[in-house]
Symmetry: D2
Subunit: 377 residues, 4 copies
């Protein structure tokens, strides 16, 4: 096994790509990754220019994932890229991840993991076969107080769960959705690029993931009601999903036409012995509700938190960490896996989360198409 | 027509009844009602004692609604009770309201208005026939910022409505629900006293009413998913209802097992041109969301508010008014109606709201029983 | 001693007077007072018209406090007014209170109690001599969570106090202060009507009162820095006061030119073992801070509260009560005193609070005038 | 002038130093700095080990600032360190900064800049003489909404300023202050390491800096009241400072014994035409108050913000950035200065801010010692 900084590459994420910045900052934060190359841009020359700006070795800028795999594998093991992050458009996730795994690389992949559940299941099998690590960047699971919520629920703090309610509201599609011409400028509304769902595939998926991550339960049945707003619009922009998680009932609510909302992801979980609430736009606040007791507000960095929570914060209490820090925590978890160190349960999302997510998207669309009926997941 | 203070009576609301206190304070606030008598208690003597404590004329304490009607109608018109508030258990609302209307009295009635939709429709007809005023005390519609929300939506501030989301979460049934013996102590869990629904009939109803009140739209279809938690529990304690309001889609979420929640009624409405959010536990805050603009927070007492809002506040900005003041605003609206003064649209809920509400409850239970299917309302 | 409803009168508070409404609602709430008459208006005829609107006996409308005292004392004791509320402009508080006490009446008085500390001390002596009850309506001490804060501090929850910080910010004078002509329309800026101070006398006083009420400590030294904004403006509109309360140090901050603020009264008290924070604009929230523990949020109506707190709430948790309810709690405390029932410590502010307050105002003005120096209180 | 990544070194910040992590992450974020070496640790061998862990060239680990200057200056200009960050204990800031400036290096320095105002003034002169760039890491000025506040005030949004109020409350010294033995474990309470002040020098300084940064005004007079809590404690742990900023009056409140507070830095500024409020623990919220208008809440990433604000955010609205991002924004501003690019006014704090700050600390201590008197600044 290698030691020291993990040699790391990227697919996509070149000049002007916000998501590339997020991944690089996340990787830099823990000082455990070294960016050595990648295929940053569909335009090879632009990729080279980008690498120069970052002062990377331009020999390790590649025109394709295939070239990357071929050339990197020629390098001695100690210099070779060990893990590659895929931050390209959605439809490229699956083929790239497949090639990388088969080529012997660990993979960090943006969500949604694939375009279909079948592809996701294939990747899952491949991960097992190749014995590679696979990290899916469900960023919100990297927030300390989300991890605290997960831990407290696992520890029985709120008892058997009775109700789960997750909301993910944004408004950004509203300016585009009402005119057919304007819709064309939004790739997420194009099935060829986005898959079978827009709103549910993009953000409903996060809500679903957060529900399963924090509760430790699985959604086993669902009934969805999607809103396309216009008949000639091909993908959902809003929807509500009734869910069953074992004995618990709940609801996932998601919208991209909640006009004026920015990134309002909120989760409320209630059990026999208490409730827990968290909201992404104020991520340092976790509220615990108990019958007949004052509300309790948990905040990061305080030693009353679980070890995983403490390990997900870099500063003293009262110094807010944000979305980049959350992503950084996920990269940190993956680094531990790659270096075969002891990681915490749930320190980074895996290919299993990706399979669950893709199944969720497909079932949600199917339930709605079939007339808002229950479907097993 | 009479002048001066409105002669007012009560059915129920005697010693120790919290709801009676709420109605009396509401009536006192505007200095437009004078409590002259009533049938305060099933135990006549206790009712008399109660009247003495309030220094009322004990001649006008009655053993029954029938006695009240008979005796009051013997008095000269200028002294006679003009309006009677019904604050008894649910199953008495309908027969009492019926008798009062037929006896020539205006009626103020607690919700739910009746036990069945059929009874509600009968009352609606009777109100028309008798030309009496009927006020249903959906208290939350009395809050200034709820009225502001209604007015802003009616004025087109957020444009055509796209998504409606109302939550009403409480946790108070949790301590009782898990043991059959304990359940018996909760009358709301007894179909004989509560009707066909517990959670939806009690608080889901408020959420429904608020959705229709603020948007000015009607719920025309619904699909519900109720939670009884135990097979041997007869009434729902939690549920989610998918709704359609014309072209808008939405959801009503309600629970009495959201452990630790007190009275968390929250409404979010999003339209083409903006969104509006309000929460009952912080009732002085109304948030307006607009694409590409800072959030705006509206607060009571400020002249930028609509006239109905201004008329629903007694103090300068920054002096919080609460639930009693909201109820007082409804009593004030009803007083205007009784005295045939110009009232604002929506200044008090009417028998029509009661009919809508009872239909809602029945359809919600039916949809769930039939397997979570769509039903027209 | 009398029984039943307390016969109650008012000086001032006639047609259009907001403060009169607040006092009447407060009195009605507990159903312990009966308004029987008063001198409602400097214009006698307008006072009579007002009494008619309230359906009072116009024989008991008086042209002056002297007439009231003389005539009421002719009535049999069981019918006679027992207590009188003074809600006139500030300069009338002292002579009216004096006459009433000497005339044998209990007194409820708006703040500031007098125009000078000397007058206040005189009233204090008179209260003792006459053995009458005297209630000063420092409304904010009537909020349940303020009372909870007082009780928790008294119980040692936060240990010995180290720092006290009270803020009272409003912005309402800003539109008037910048032009000499406009200032004339504001009676609070006129020393003849307002006394030696505007901002400190009106609202700084509340902040001071809250500091002493909640901590149980007395301000024994102060150093003030007032802001008159313009040389030709006679009274302060803003200021900061350094305070000492025994070993604790602190600060009172008050402004009427904090543009855009409504009624932002906030108190923070920190002791060796914790801190407590409360804000008037969200009065149902009391936050307890403890080293190394999650924040705790106390809310009204929950049985974990102290008995005085519980007794200051009429509804179940989650049903917000507001400023009228706070005033109602003070009237309730005074009613207990008048009827010689067991009241809680601190259930209504007394003439002692008034003396403290008037001394505070005078010392604050003196400290500033003398060049921001320390003065004993 | 050099191009590409800025060659960057550190003094201090080795293994286990939190502040070192903050600076490195800040430098990594913008991808403009390359850490090439430094004197990371007083223990040279530990510094080397640390460098190895970061995979740095151990030839460029130095035993002292002198060695660093000497050796780096032997390197060709294109390889040589260009800027050095000083993150050592306070008393080393001045001598190190002096040597670095004289040695030809740009300097990034933690606050407080020096131990005395005289040292600070000397550095200021030296910066001019050497024509080097000097960045003082007052982190809070890097938050987007602080920058937005500064810009809005400069643009006249709230008019001429009337009142300034800054609070910085922490509770972390409380567990140590009450026992003499425990105090010894806190270096900030040791004058030899901390200088003339603990609380004011550490966090009151930030409050002062924020007041001047956001308003564009200077504190020209002050009167302070410090709290040492015990006679045998040498440095302040709490205090209040009355301030004058031209015609505006205000107050700085600071405490390290506000038990239970984490890092509660809050600023409120009120002008003739409005007010602005911001709180560090929820840094994405900036509230604008205007007479007679709804509150407005500004949030990062929205195009309605000023260009400097937009340039200080990396993500779309609703994705919270935190304290590391704020520090990153300051490093970004310094990078622009080093590379002689167009920077925004106020994009990083300079040696002038350091001089102001050191004068503030000295005057605050002097005012208190002289009996809480006014002192010019």
């Amino acid at each position: 096994m290698n030691k020291g900084r993990i040699k790391w590459g990227m697919l996509g994420g070149g000049q002007g790509a916000f998501i590339g910045i997020a991944h690089r900052i996340a990787a830099y934060m823990g000082e455990r990754y070294e960016l050595v190359g990648g295929a940053f841009d569909v335009d090879y020359d632009r990729g080279v220019a980008f690498a120069k700006a970052l002062e990377l070795d331009t020999d390790r800028v590649y025109a394709s994932v295939e070239a990357l795999i071929k050339e990197e594998n020629k390098l001695p093991k100690s210099e070779r890229m060990e893990v590659v992050s895929i931050v390209t458009p959605n439809f490229l996730h699956y083929p790239m991840a497949k090639s990388l795994l088969e080529g012997g690389f660990h993979v960090i992949c943006e969500k949604p993991m694939t375009m279909t559940a079948a592809e996701a299941e294939e990747l899952q099998e491949l991960v097992q076969q190749t014995d590679r690590h696979f990290c899916l960047t469900h960023t919100y699971t990297g927030y300390p107080m989300v991890r605290q919520m997960k831990t407290m629920i696992a520890d029985g703090e709120i008892g058997e769960i009775q109700r789960v309610d997750v909301q993910y509201y944004q408004g950004w599609i509203n300016p585009f959705i009402h005119e057919k011409e304007k819709r064309k400028s939004v790739w997420r509304l194009d099935p060829a690029k986005s898959g079978v769902s827009c709103c549910m595939g993009d953000i409903g998926l996060h809500a679903f993931n957060l529900a399963e991550y924090t509760t430790g339960l699985q959604v086993d049945r669902l009934l969805s009601d999607l809103n396309y707003l216009y008949e000639d619009n091909n993908l959902d922009v809003d929807g509500t999903v009734l869910i069953r998680m074992g004995k618990a009932k709940g609801v996932i609510r998601s919208s991209q036409i909640a006009t004026g909302e920015e990134n309002n992801l909120t989760i409320q979980v209630y059990g026999k012995d208490g409730g827990l609430k968290w909201c992404q736009e104020h991520p340092t606040v976790l509220t615990l509700l108990k019958e007949g007791k004052p509300l309790q507000v948990f905040k990061p960095g305080n030693p009353y938190n679980a070890q995983l929570t403490m390990d997900s914060t870099k500063m003293a209490p009262g110094h807010p960490e944000g979305i980049f820090d959350a992503m950084g925590n996920i990269y940190k978890g993956m680094a531990k896996a790659i270096r075969e160190e002891q990681a915490f349960e749930g320190e980074y999302p895996t290919v299993q989360d990706g399979v669950r997510g893709m199944q969720f998207i497909e079932k949600v669309v199917q339930s709605n198409r079939d007339g808002n009926v229950w479907i097993n997941l």
